[in-house]
Amino acid sequence: MYVAVKGGERAIDNAHAWLAEERRGDPAVPELSVAQIREQMALAVNRVMAEGSLYDPDLAALAIKQARGDLIEAVFLIRAYRTTLPRIGASRPVDTGAMACDRRISATFKDAPGGQVLGPTFDYTHRLLDFALAAEGEPPVAATAPPDETPTPRITDFLGRDGLIQPEPATDAEPRDLTREPLEFPADRPLRLQSLTRGDEGFVLAMAYSTQRGYGRNHPFVGELRIGAVPVEMDIPELGFAIEIGEITLTECETVNQFAGSRTEPAQFTRGYGLVFGQTERKAISMALVDRALRWDELGEDDTGAPAQDAEFVLSHADNIQATGFLEHIKLPHYVDFQAELELVRKLRAEALASRREAAE
């Protein structure tokens, strides 16, 4: 005998309790602290801050702990929290040219003022599992040097001085805000960049990779990649001047891309731009490539039909919180729709079988 299912509420409560237990894991193993995650899982924390669009390493670390290391779930927690925060105001644009760089490399010039600084990178590590890490111990102390006070001007500024790279028009216009207005197309570049910087790292990477393999190729060089801290300043109306309210770490990538020109227009390089919270190098480079691919129209290039050139395609699918929500919602009950389809299929089958029978007679 069928009894209408009751108890959804208790099932949910029990599921949550079980989840909390699983999150803790074996109680014989010491619990992770939020500070441990913040300090030792820093790149995961950076990714959560970047895709969560909220610069707060402690909250990102807490979200990672709560999400059992599922970074998209952690991003979701941060986004849902972020959306409840009041907007006090807007900062001044940060000056990445004045960044205190931990890392600064250029693939286009062997050397430039400010020098090449490798910084804490995996780049030239051999990817051999370091079993010494399994035994806990302190790493050897890294060499230090007094900070280099030389300014590190942007590489593209050198090209710009000679007119070799297309200038980006400066504007004081207030950009539209992706988080406060519905996304509508055509989306201008500030909006596209907002979408890309919070977009899923895997998605943006795959889009960028596709351009390298010929789907909207744009011949990028990493003109410059820099990672470091920049001060955030805000105008305080009561004071009448700007004060520094904090410091954030950013990764910025400028690519130098294929040039365009004609007999009358002198040839110039063009650029793609990536700017992401935290040390998030893969994402910043990917972002620059995709940004450049999306600029085909303004730069007078052909639309080759490549996915990375299609702003509506890229922006509509870059957000992993939207994507994962919609993907996973198909777990929810669909009895009603399915019943409607079931009945239709039965009807179509009955008619087809009847006409087959008729034909046989």
Binding site: Y2, G8, P182, V336, L342
Partner: protein, 292 residues
């Protein structure tokens, strides 16, 4: 019970005002999809965030809320959304259609006729009825602007040519007051006639897709069809095995591994009330209060 850390019904008043503006615009232009700045909610996109935002914008402390999913109050996501509003708005809730002032629904319209004092809020996954014919938003908006609905009729015609029937069983498109073609959300086409001329306000919220649209009271919504292939609101050809209702939409339940099955009302409140009133179906057990 109310979480004081959050505003009444979770969203801040500015956000609610923005949503209410979109709702009013939607009511002023029935069937038109109004873009709105959908917020990240503490539940996933695709799980009713649009409906939740519309409900949050409509609720007042005096309201009585009912939440259903697949017609039932006790499906897990309906429980979760009802709990969310109990916690953040502290409003009264009910499972009885007639007692509710706001009903949030996924995939069904209640069997009990609604009144002019009620708001029905639909959760919408894909608000664009033309989406599966044309994936680009820029194109579909243009098609709506120009009332360019030929593609939809061609699709319905092709269904008939291929299968002998229109092969859309749910989310069956309607034309609103002779103007906009609208997606009624994935309700079974059985429910489509209830959309039209309904005294309640019907609001549709799509969170991920950032759209709100509406059917004001007594708005005409005609299911698309052809003269020689008229629309038919179909349902499984059985009465409810619990309450014996002939005209309600049914869920099919597999009861054993030898092909045994039964059909029961998908609207659990409707079914329980009929049983309480003494109606009984083929497999009805004596009615108990808790079996609703």
């Amino acid at each position: 019970m109310t979480d004081t850390a959050y505003n009444f019904a979770y969203l801040d008043e500015e956000t609610k005002r923005m949503i209410r503006r979109a709702i009013l615009k939607g009511i002023a232009i029935p069937g038109y999809q109004v873009p709105f700045a959908s917020r990240e909610m503490p539940m996933p996109y695709g799980w009713g965030t649009g409906g939740v935002q519309v409900t949050a914008a409509c609720l007042t402390p005096g309201d009585r809320l009912k939440v259903i999913d697949q017609g039932a109050d006790d499906t897990t996501n309906a429980v979760s959304i009802r709990k969310f509003f109990e916690r953040t708005a502290g409003v009264a809730t009910t499972e009885r259609t007639a007692e509710a002032t706001v009903i949030q629904t996924r995939h069904r319209i209640p069997e009990t006729p609604l009144t002019g004092d009620q708001i029905l809020v639909y959760q919408v996954p894909i608000p664009e009825p033309l989406r599966f014919l044309e994936p680009r938003e820029t194109e579909t908006r243009k098609m709506h602007e120009l009332e360019e609905y030929g593609l939809m009729h061609v699709k319905l015609y092709e269904d008939i040519a291929r299968h002998g029937h229109i092969s859309t069983a749910y989310a069956y498109p309607v034309r609103v007051e002779g103007r906009y073609v609208m997606d009624p959300s994935p309700i079974p086409k059985f429910d489509n006639p209830k959309l039209s001329g309904n005294p309640a306000i019907q609001l549709f919220g799509a969170g991920r897709e950032q759209r709100i649209y509406a059917l004001p009271p007594f708005t005409e919504a005609v299911s698309l069809d052809f003269e020689d292939h008229p629309f038919e609101a179909s349902k499984p050809d059985h009465p409810c095995d619990l309450c014996g209702a002939e005209g309600s939409y049914l869920d099919e339940v597999i009861t054993d591994d030898r092909g045994g099955r039964m059909f029961v009302c998908s609207d659990t409140d409707f079914c329980a009330e009929r049983r309480a009133a003494g109606h009984a179906g083929r497999l009805a057990a004596p009615y108990e209060e808790t079996a609703a």
